[in-house]
Amino acid sequence: MTKPLLDVEDLRVRFHLRTGTVEAVRGVSFQLGRERLGIVGESGSGKSQTGRAILGLTPPPGEVKAKRLAFDGIDLLTASKKTLRTLRGGRISMVMQDPKYSLNPVMTIGEQIIEAYQAHAKAGRGEARDRALAMLEAVKMRDPGRVFSLYPHEVSGGMGQRAMIAMMLVTEPDLLIADEPTSALDVTVSMEVLRILDELVTERGMGLIFISHDLKLVSSFCDRVLVMYAGRVVEELEAKNLREAQHPYTQGLMRCLPTLANDVRPLPTLNRDPSWAL
């Protein structure tokens, strides 16, 4: 690994609320090359806010601070809005959790992919259309031409999610942030979507940040995993070594899942040690 694609050092996301300041992300640092990085944690651990902060999508009262937040040498904190706009969707893309809420309901899927492409590439309508169709085919849509002219409400969740992946990848980004891309999908469908994502990431040599609450899924899909708790990274480890996790939180998360392989009763629950959050 030469220069990292993404360099995050001491990232902090704060929300100043009437009731006081909430620090959702408290000093997260990591570097990402062209690899698959998983960020795992429970609700409220700050994993999604980390992903959003990288893209500059922190919702209004939020404030992002970091010692360094650089993408391919470009400082994202001081970059102009114009630079950010060209990066966002162009070189860094994000796949959201639920296609029902993230796709524009009044535009056909094809139009949305064309819009994404034309926002970042100088291309005529015909070329954009060809690209969109090719992309729909790349995400294994059975009949790209038909899906192209459908509205989001006319497709299933799995198809919607694939359409969103197509839209995010049509600009050939260097970094893809996927925030719970499969949580709204069935297990069998989500495996299919992951396989597509995996293929595209490997083929195009993209960097991938995969945000999920599902430890089992992340460990089987990613190369490296960050485990977050209360806004901090409590443990970083190779995905294949997840079983040898050192931190009691990671161990607890692993153990409390029911598995088909062994029947433990009652399931061990997580005893949260207040010192983890310090």
């Binding site: 069998t188 495996m191 089992k216 089987s220 409390c256 088909l260 009652p266 399931l267 629950t269």
Partner: protein, 260 residues
């Protein structure tokens, strides 16, 4: 306890006709836990909803305790059968306190006499203290809300609990707590469960027998033990078992350690 015979549920007519459940039959013994598994659109939730009257029974019979249910369901039915919904964020009234949520079933069934004691007992049963009694749902975490939803279902002392994805909106650690609670309640109160879930591991943990559904049809009835030993005759069941074991890279790239 519960007998479902050739259940069909059809929504709409003509072009919009959807056969959500096609000829599904199963039988649940008293005190047993029965699972319904399948992907979205397989009709597993519709079976539950048809049992408790939230979806129409187009044809077939639903027997509770040997008696066929009436439409609309009688009060006695709801005293026997109660439901816990998937999303505790949506199933509790946001402007009702826990106390009001729990006293509503008592009021409906005219049992307001010792309401206070029963509410406190219901809270205790689900592992919450009396301090939760006057809170609103927004003052509770997801796991606490689901406990309240379970308490609401249990306060009438039903015999059957219909559980529609009771843990899929919850974090893994909270899921473990709720599963333990359900396990414990079943043993202590002798309840019968029907559990709908897309998560095979959850179903195998809680239930002894289960029915795999696909496109509204029953594909295979099997046992949790058979699932654990990976013993499934049906291809669809096998694909579910496979998918529940996490992501696997396609065989074209053999399992090379990324050490290279």
């Amino acid at each position: 306890m519960l007998d479902i015979q050739n259940l069909n549920v059809v929504f709409g007519t003509g072009r919009l006709r959807v056969e959500a459940v096609k000829n599904v039959s199963f039988h649940v013994e008293p005190g047993a836990a029965y699972g319904l598994v399948g992907e979205s659109g397989s009709g597993k939730s519709t079976v539950l909803r048809a049992i408790c009257g939230l979806a129409p029974i187009t044809s077939g019979r639903v027997l509770v305790d040997g008696k066929e249910v009436t439409t609309p369901r009688s009060k006695a039915f709801y005293r026997t059968v109660q439901m816990v919904f998937q999303d505790p964020y949506a199933s509790l009234h946001p402007r009702h306190t826990v106390d009001r949520t729990l006293s509503e079933p008592l009021a409906i069934h005219g049992e307001k006499k010792d309401a206070e004691a029963r509410i406190l007992q219901a809270l205790r049963e689900v592992g919450l203290g009396p301090s939760f009694r006057f809170r609103y749902p927004h003052q509770l975490s997801g796991g606490q809300r689901q406990r309240i939803a379970i308490a609401r279902a249990l306060i009438l002392r039903p015999k059957v609990l219909l559980l529609d994805e009771p843990t899929s909106a919850l974090d893994a650690s909270v899921q473990a707590e709720i599963l333990n609670l359900l396990d414990d309640l079943r043993r202590r109160l002798g309840l019968t469960y029907i559990l709908v879930s897309h998560d095979l591991a959850v179903v195998a943990h809680l239930c002894e027998r289960l029915l795999v559904m696909q496109h509204g049809e029953a594909v295979e009835e099997t046992t949790a033990d058979a699932l654990r030993s990976g013993d499934a005759s049906n291809a669809y069941t096998r694909s579910l078992i496979h998918a529940s074991q996490g992501f696997t890279r396609v065989a074209t790239q053999p399992a090379q350690a990324p050490a290279a």
